[in-house]
């Protein structure tokens, strides 16, 4: 099979990239291993923040529908339940395995990797028991598959994911016994924290989980207070009777396709870990391979869409579908929009991380 632009991942970054490129006439093929497109958008039933042009006030699920509709109009080809098992020839071909168990080689002129991120694990005695799961996985189970994983939940981590999922667990009818964080302060936005505090969920900062127990599934957990050295303060342990532990301790970029293709990566803590280096056009150290979204730094869906657009414009230009001047103008607009998103007080870390990443790109 042949295409001009292959995009791996149909989340906000991948879909936005596809739309920008397809608008100019590029033949676009998206590959996603999931049964549905949209990445994490369809489980985001809460409204986005920010300004109107960044889709504030709209729910993730509605943004997902809007993007998919545009892709359909532009004849973007989307392969679902299709796995990329290899990247060949500097990104000029992908090894695909389709849902019906057939394999195929997809030849492409340009490649955008929008593979997203994976939830970080937290290891403690009992962490492999059924009942311990990622907060993101919990959100998928609840909001997409309509399955409530348990009735009494301990949330570990108070970043936005931990806070939002706590609220949604309550909405779905579960009891969130506590949300804990090892840091002395709440990680996420005040607006999300207040929401769950008002509903009576205790938020315990400077607390960690010591262990989970139960024979075949989680029956309870021991939590304890930690000192400034993050070590447990003796005699502060307490036992919670729960059946579910949600781990919300951040995300890491899923960069293995980029790494295997030879794209250079660098560890940037602010961006979530090992991240492929890229320039302002979202192009990696391998010409013709672009990245966008969480794979090159864990941020928000809104920033992922802007990065996706930039990568789509850059790919369209290099394929000859956009004049240099026009591409530059479009990219400038998107860059300004990105800067605005990263100007907020909560985006300082990712802004710093992105600056480091781009600086390092130009050094190598």
């Amino acid at each position: 099979m042949e295409t001009e632009l292959a995009i791996v991942g149909s989340g906000p970054a991948g879909l936005a990239a596809a739309i920008e490129a397809a608008k100019t006439g590029v033949k676009v093929t998206i590959i996603d291993e999931n049964p549905r497109p949209g990445g994490q958008l369809f489980k985001q039933i809460h409204k986005f923040f920010g300004s109107e042009k960044h889709k504030a006030g709209i729910r993730g699920i509605d943004i997902g529908h809007e993007l998919l509709e545009q892709c359909e109009k532009l004849n973007v080809q989307i392969f679902l339940r299709t796995e990329v098992w290899a990247v060949f020839d500097n990104g000029k071909a992908l090894g695909l395995k389709h849902a019906n168990n057939t394999t195929e080689k997809l030849n492409t002129r340009k490649l955008i990797l929008a593979t997203g991120a994976i939830e970080n694990p937290l290891a403690f005695p009992g962490w492999t028991l059924p009942g311990v799961l990622g907060a993101g996985a919990t959100q998928t189970l609840m909001n997409l598959h309509r399955v409530l994983p348990g009735q009494r939940v301990l949330m570990v981590g108070t970043g936005n994911v931990g806070l939002i999922v706590s609220y949604q667990l309550l909405q779905a009818g579960a009891d969130v016994v506590a949300a804990i964080d090892i840091l002395p302060q709440i990680g996420g936005w005040g607006v999300h924290a207040s929401k769950i505090r008002r509903l009576g969920i205790p938020i315990l900062t400077s607390h960690t989980i010591k262990e989970a127990f139960g024979n075949n599934e989680v029956k309870g957990a021991v939590i304890a207070r930690v000192g400034q050295d993050n070590k447990v303060i003796p005699e502060t342990e307490r036992t919670l009777e729960i059946d579910t532990i949600c781990i919300a301790v951040g995300l890491s970029p899923m960069a293995e396709l980029a790494q295997s293709a030879g794209c250079q990566t660098i560890h940037i803590a602010e961006l979530g870990g090992w991240t492929p280096m890229h320039n302002k056009r979202m192009e990696t150290t391998i010409k013709g391979i672009y990245v966008a979204g969480d794979v090159c730094g864990v941020e928000e869906a809104s920033t992922a869409m802007e990065e996706g657009k930039i990568s789509g414009i850059a790919a369209a230009e290099s394929l000859g579908y956009l004049q240099r001047g026009k591409a530059k103008e479009l990219m400038k607009e998107r860059q300004e929009s990105l800067n605005a998103l990263r100007a907020g007080p909560f985006a300082t870390q990712s802004k710093l991380g992105k600056e480091k990443l781009i600086e390092r790109f130009h050094k190598c």
Partner: protein
């Protein structure tokens, strides 16, 4: 509530769930001189299972950082190579045959 009174310090826990490699095994490998993610992976098989280290790599990296004093920035992720998702060799062989026939 009843439960065993074993403290967490005494418990050895599994870090790589695919290959069932424990924290102790990882620490021993580092103690024997494994000072890179790749060497720990090769000597213990942590990260060589079905998920290819997507879960345990970060955990192993943190232990390596704590035991060797090397910051995460100084560590190189283990070599990433296909297949990125489990795939039957039979399927690849079939595709190989198709390609050969076309030629």
């Amino acid at each position: 509530m009843e439960r065993k009174t074993q403290t967490s310090e005494e418990k050895d826990i599994i870090l790589c769930r695919c290959e069932e490699v424990t924290q102790k095994t990882i620490e021993e490998a580092i103690g024997k001189g494994g000072d890179t993610l790749d060497s720990v992976k090769r000597s213990t098989r942590a990260g060589m299972g079905l998920c290819q280290g997507r879960t345990c790599q970060r955990l192993v990296a943190k232990i390596l950082r704590d035991k060797t004093g090397k910051p995460l920035e100084a560590l190189t992720p283990p070599t990433s190579r296909p297949p990125f998702r489990p795939i039957k060799l039979d399927l690849l062989a079939q595709e190989g045959n198709k390609t050969a026939e076309r030629k």
